[in-house]
């Protein structure tokens, strides 16, 4: 039982004034292990972000459970969040703080031991190569620099579980490659990484296991090799189409 993230029957139903009930996520199950990159692969609107928002406790599940290191997202939200780092294209930084202040603020707010905060901040500044602009305000930084600061603030409290929601959206090739490098490094450190994407090559390169999500349901969940075997196709794009069209 080394599953760090366990999701069982997770469901989210919205009520939209114009459309009535919308079943964004419909009873999904999966689990992730330490030292693993778990990919959530799906088209836009498939339910990836809603699932990750439930795991990060921003949204409350309509039904089902999800636990992170044994903490339930519905009953111990703070316990979950203090063990988790959440990165997405929509989680922005504070423009009027410096890079150093940003990392320090997130370390403190995430309960990193107060006496070790400075040391941790300096380590991350060094690790991500942001020493040159550590005291510049975030709004003055380029998007590549902001990305580094964003990742540093995500791991400021050294969480064992990391959630990356479409992290490559809006990044150029070099910055996207750097992001992949960072994810691999975190995997080597033994962290659990949930990585959502709609880019097939990214999932192919990074993920140890891939869950194909469509219409709020997980259609398949396994390693890339086994998915290839099961569908008798080589490329992830074909595997994805196989499941999605097969469903449709």
């Amino acid at each position: 039982m080394n599953d760090t993230v366990v999701v069982r029957g997770l469901t989210k139903t919205f009520y939209d004034e114009g459309r009535g009930e919308v079943h964004a996520v419909q009873g999904i199950d999966f689990e992730c292990r330490a030292g693993e990159v778990f990919g959530l692969l799906g088209a836009n609107g498939a339910g990836k972000t809603t699932t990750l928002r439930m795991l990060s406790t921003v949204l409350a599940p309509t039904a089902g459970t999800a636990t992170i290191l044994g903490r339930d997202v519905a009953t111990d939200a703070i316990g979950v969040r203090s063990r988790m780092g959440f990165y997405s294209a929509s989680t922005a930084l504070y423009p009027r703080l410096t890079a150093r202040e940003t990392i320090e603020f997130f370390a403190r707010i995430n309960q990193y031991p107060a006496d070790k905060v400075r040391e941790r901040v300096e380590f991350l500044i060094e690790r991500f190569g942001i020493a040159k602009y550590a005291d510049a305000r975030v709004d003055k930084l380029s998007s590549g620099m902001k990305q580094k600061v964003s990742i540093a603030r995500t791991v400021a409290h050294d969480p064992p579980v990391l959630i990356f929601d479409e992290p490559s959206v809006g990044l150029d090739v070099l910055n996207a490659l750097e992001m992949h490098e960072v994810v691999r490094e975190f995997r080597q450190q033994g962290k659990t990484i949930i990585f959502s994407t709609h880019i097939m090559s990214e999932a192919e390169k990074l993920c140890d296991r891939i869950a194909i999500i469509h219409g709020g349901r997980i259609l398949a969940c396994d390693t890339l090799d086994r998915l290839r075997e099961a569908t008798a196709t080589r490329y992830l794009e074909d595997i994805f189409v196989h499941y999605v069209r097969g469903r449709g």
Partner: protein, 713 residues
């Protein structure tokens, strides 16, 4: 609640604010510099104007058949002023009035050419009798023009000094140019001078008829106030203290509040914050404390600013201004203001949490600001006592308590009640604002979604309230500005047909709504009609009981009610016409608007119970008169509940028509339902409950109502 986390978040909010130079300059530095400059400039300009007018030599001409008499009057007036007691401020002012008559052939042309400031026209009694009667309003209009000053629209006008004139009495008419400052000022002084001449003449006549004493000294009026100067000052300040505190806290707190959640949502940093280990309650508390801190600091700065102006006499204080603030007063005021400040911080936070963007938050702020300032104004109303139901009305209760405390009246039991009520209200708003950060729709940024893209019926629920806002604005604007519609029939026809029928039809067309669904044109169970017959009289009586209850909190003057009845029931109108205008038309048209398109648009936004209250309240607000809102909102809730249980507009139309006809019959037969015994209302409430029970048993619920799923974030 971890206070270390709250401290980190609070310090973070303040650091963000201090680093926003534009906000700091606009909110703190600019008022500090601009206020004294503006006050100084205004004072200087007024002083210069006053001196200029005082030093002016007013030139005037005299004309008319009684010109000689007018000249004698002016001379008599000047003599009377010279002889009068200079201690009288009015006489002192008149003594500074310098005037000179110049001879001109055409006084009107001379006035137009600015050769004279005004001219006097003397008319004999016989001439005056041939003139058309002067309207009383003319004097009011002239005074209003004088008050408005030289900026007012140019207006040439001549009026009588005294509007009440007996036959045969001559007239001295002052003709002036109301759009010229010096002409208006000269006319005012000349009017006072002529009044002084008239007074002197009257006194002389009385003496000639043998009155031994000075006519002005038939008896003397003396006065003495039992209140000390400090109490008088306290009474003056106490009336406005809560209001000003609210104004400062709202404007000061808004500097940080508008950005504190709405700005974060817009930038995307709120979601970042919500995925940290900080609890929602801790985030809300820190944000409330930040608003409170900034609001308090800006309030202190503004008060200190005012004190500086007072010290340097930029703001003059009234005579006998004695402000006493013993420790007991200060501590009690602080205790009462603390929950008020917390309340303000929460209200501001809720605006910020509700808005999607900073700009949207600013848009919401202004109406909330205006509405928030209404309750503290209660302290200005005469006759509102702390020992009344007002002690339970948040903000209004504090304003009245502060007024009492400032004159040294410490009614401790009632101050305790006020404190508890205000703390309870603040605690409720704290809780509500904390819950807003758990509302998924409010915390996640929502851009264009499926409804925006689909348009049509999917978009209608989002726009429906804006449509009713426009309807309300048109209704009010037309009622206030189109006198041609200010008759009973025209006003009613316009409201019912142009507002309550045409607008819903426009909405149906614009959003391509299915007319049967939008207007709930559905058949109902036959027994529902029986339930409606029970509901009609019982709802009317219970509504009157609700009005009586509301009257305990906000008493409505009897004259207002009588005037309303007079206007609503015009004399001489046949019964069929009254029935048509007051019962049938409103039942059809208003139901189309409220239980039709409004209910259809809002059906997915609120749960059924809240939906009934919201639709009922909007229905009440459209009935314009403030005192009618509660009873009409009650009727609105009843009718909406009928619609929710039957899923149809038809029973609502019958219930509405029946209710209005019942009220009309009561009014015409002279029965006073407002004076019935309370048990009558209790029995009516039971019958009403029975009617609804029957309706519930045969219900055909309104389709598409919101259930328990969370709303689309």
């Amino acid at each position: 609640m971890r206070w270390a986390t709250i401290r980190v978040l609070w310090a973070h909010e303040l650091r963000m604010l201090v680093r926003d130079r534009r906000t700091v300059v606009v909110a703190i530095v600019l008022p500090l510099v601009m206020m004294p400059l503006m006050l100084y400039a205004t004072r200087e300009m007024n002083e210069r104007r006053r001196k200029g007018l005082e030093e002016t030599l007013y030139r005037y001409a005299v004309t008319g058949t009684e010109a000689a008499g007018v000249r004698a009057l002016v001379a008599g007036g000047l003599e009377a002023v010279a002889a009068a007691d200079a201690a009288d401020p009015a006489i002192a002012t008149l003594r500074k009035f310098r005037c000179e008559e110049i001879r001109v052939d055409d006084p009107a042309a001379a006035l137009a050419a600015k050769e004279v400031q005004f001219y006097l026209e003397g008319l004999s009694g016989a001439e005056a009798d041939t003139l058309p009667p002067e309207k009383e309003a003319a004097k009011d209009e002239e005074d209003a023009a004088a008050e408005a000053g030289p900026e007012a629209a140019p207006k040439r006008e001549s009026v009588l000094v005294d509007p009440v004139r007996l036959p045969g009495v001559p007239i001295v008419r002052i003709v002036f140019q109301g759009d010229r400052d010096s002409s208006s000022a000269g006319r005012r002084s000349m009017r006072d001078l002529l009044a002084e001449a008239r007074r002197a003449g009257r006194d002389a006549m009385l003496r000639e008829r043998g009155l031994g004493a000075d006519p002005a000294a038939v008896f003397k009026v003396g006065e003495s106030s039992l209140a000390s100067a400090a109490q008088v000052t306290g009474s003056y300040i106490g009336r406005f203290l809560t209001l000003f505190l609210m104004m400062f806290m709202l404007t000061g707190g808004s500097v940080v509040a508008m950005d504190i959640i709405a700005g974060e949502k817009e930038r995307g940093s709120l979601e970042t914050l919500l995925t940290t280990a900080a609890g929602r309650g801790e985030i809300v508390t820190a944000k409330q404390l930040a608003i409170l801190t900034v609001g308090a600091v800006i309030t202190v700065i503004q008060v200190a600013n005012i004190l500086v102006y007072v010290t340097f006499k930029v703001i003059p204080l009234p005579e006998n201004f004695v402000l006493e603030a013993p420790p007991k007063t200060v501590v009690t005021l602080l205790l009462l203001f603390l929950p008020v400040a917390a309340f303000v911080a929460c209200v501001l936070l809720m605006i910020s949490a509700y808005a999607k963007t900073y700009k949207e938050a600013q848009l919401y702020f202004f109406p909330v600001y205006l509405v928030s300032l209404v309750p503290p104004l209660v302290a200005v109303l005469p006759g509102v006592s702390l020992r009344s139901i007002i002690a339970l009305v948040p903000l209004a209760n504090v304003s009245v308590a502060v007024r009492e405390i400032m004159v040294g009246r410490f009614d401790w039991p009632m101050i305790g009640v006020v404190f508890v009520a205000m703390v309870a209200a603040s605690a409720w708003t704290v809780r509500q604002s904390a819950r807003m950060l758990s509302n998924e729709r409010l915390i996640t940024s929502g851009g264009a979604d499926a409804a925006d893209l689909a348009g049509g019926p999917a978009l209608f629920p989002r726009h429906v309230l804006a449509w009713y806002g426009i309807m309300g604005a048109v209704l009010f604007a037309v009622a206030l500005n189109v006198p041609q519609l200010a008759t009973f029939r025209r006003q009613l026809l316009f409201n019912e047909l142009a507002i309550f029928t045409l607008f819903p039809l426009l909405m149906i067309g614009r959003y391509r709504l299915n007319i049967r669904e939008a207007l709930a044109l559905r058949p109902v169970h036959p027994l529902a009609w029986l339930a409606i017959l029970l509901i009609i009289p019982s709802a009317g009586l219970v509504g009157t009981g609700v009005f009586r209850l509301a009257n305990l909190v906000i008493p409505v003057p009897r004259e207002m009610l009588e005037q309303f009845s007079r206007e609503l029931l015009p004399k001489g109108m046949p019964i069929w016409e009254l029935g048509l205008f007051l019962s049938v038309l409103p039942a059809i048209c208003e139901e189309i608007a409220f239980r039709g398109t409004l209910l259809h648009g809002l059906r997915g936004r609120f749960r059924p119970a809240v939906l009934a209250i919201v639709v009922g309240l909007i229905f009440g607000l459209f009935h314009v008169a403030l005192f009618r809102i509660i009873p009409t909102a009650f009727l609105g809730v009843v009718l909406t509940t009928v619609a929710l249980l039957t899923g149809s507009i038809y029973p609502c139309m019958l219930a509405h028509a029946g209710n209005n006809a019942f009220a009309l019959w009561l009014g015409m037969s002279g029965r006073n339902t407002g004076a019935m015994a309370w048990w009558v209302y209790a029995v009516a409430a039971l019958v009403l409950a029975g009617g609804f029970y029957l309706l519930y048993r045969v219900r055909t619920p309104y389709p598409g109502l919101r259930r328990n799923a969370s709303r689309q974030p």
